[in-house]
Amino acid sequence: MKFLGLVLLALLAGCQERVVTFRVSIPDLAGLETPVPDLIVTFLPYDRDSILRTLETGAPPRPHVGELDSLFRAFRTPFQRFLLLSDSAGRARQTADSVRAAGLDPAAPETAAAALASRLAAARTTLDAARRELWPTITAYRQDVAAWEDSVYRDYRKVTRSQADRIFATPVADTTDALGWGSAAITSARWWATARTVDPADPNREWYWNVRVEGDTVHLDPRTGRNRPRY
């Protein structure tokens, strides 16, 4: 036959199943990369960041960025001191308990644990004071930022829906398991995996990913993500 052997490939003119596996991991308080369980990862058939950047073009700058950065810095010091002492006090308590359980003299470790507990209590007081002092302003600024986002990104839904409709693709999501793994069935279009999770070392920062999906496995980790302020 004249046309024997004609095989036409046109992936964007058809529906095709594709299963993508992903894993999310971030540094824990000790800096060790640790899986993130129960995190929703969304697969979008468009580049979210690119759309946001376009919408921001010509818009006034995001409000209070400098002030919020300064407030976040002010909060970070007492917060991280509290975290550090919390960890040390926990370990000191465990040591004292182990010594006691072993029938040894617990006086020295008990003294160390008590001292750390006392410093931890002081750190908690400082942290609570910082929260009382800084949080109302942070919250108020964040409301302004949210209002700015509502205004600047008001067409986001319309734009993304139009992009998704054009290629007959709708976002899909999955939640990571205890080991940080998940999977999603997507079509043959171009996809981006997006997710965010609060940085355990700083409640005013987050890990954020918007990663182009290439291949069958996506790694959302410090190398592919950004650690950014939570305005």
């Binding site: 024997l4 058809g14 529906c15």
Partner: protein
């Protein structure tokens, strides 16, 4: 390499067709056109696939007019639901296959594709699909029994397995006399392939 691929596809396609013919809803119940038509097209399709819908609404009516009604081509529908991305595809395929038992496959096929945007996103499409029973003038009781007992699901699965063996990896895929057309291609491409296939078939005679 392409030639050997095509040969194997032909073998699998014929074997798949023979196997399907022996099953509950015969291929003839979802075949349009004269049995004597020299060219056969197997359309491997998913009722929830928007590209299949585009083909059915925009391209197929012209193909039907030019090739099926003129006796050149017979058009066979093969189920290939992509369940991981189209959770309602099997429910819709079941509906069409149950309708085929009442010789209403093609009316069901058309109404399913026309209303894809309505039932496609539903969490449970069954109530909506049942509303189509009356509009298609289907006997309700056998239709409900067929759907409830999932009487055609095994056959849909067999269809899908046959489609995969025939080389389909996406929908719609068209098996035309040993060749695959992949995707909802423009009418011009179908014309080129079908004219060529028809010429080759009739020249042999």
């Amino acid at each position: 390499m392409i030639r050997s691929f095509v040969v194997s596809v032909i073998a699998l396609g014929v074997a798949g067709a023979a196997r399907l013919a022996a099953q509950d809803v015969p291929l003839s119940a979802r075949t349009l056109g004269s049995a004597a038509a020299p060219v056969t097209v197997y359309e491997m399709s998913d009722f929830q696939c928007p590209f299949c819908r585009r083909h059915v609404l925009e391209t197929f009516p012209v193909l039907e007019q030019e090739y099926v009604r003129t006796g050149k081509v017979k058009w066979v529908f093969v189920n290939y639901p992509l369940t991981s991305i189209h959770p309602n595809a099997v429910a819709a395929a079941s509906f069409a296959m149950c309708a085929a038992r009442q010789d209403k496959f093609w009316p069901a096929h058309d109404v399913l594709f026309r209303n894809q945007e309505t039932w496609g996103p539903l969490k449970n499409p069954a109530p909506f699909l049942l509303t189509l029973v009356d509009s298609l003038k289907l006997s309700r009781a056998p239709m409900v029994a067929c759907l409830d007992k999932q009487e055609t699901v095994a056959q849909i699965k067999a269809d899908a397995e046959g489609a995969v063996k025939s080389g389909a990896q996406s929908t719609p895929t068209f098996y035309v006399e040993g060749n695959l057309i992949i995707g909802a291609q423009p009418i011009g491409l179908f014309r080129m392939v079908l004219d060529s296939a028809y010429a080759a078939k009739t020249r042999k005679k």
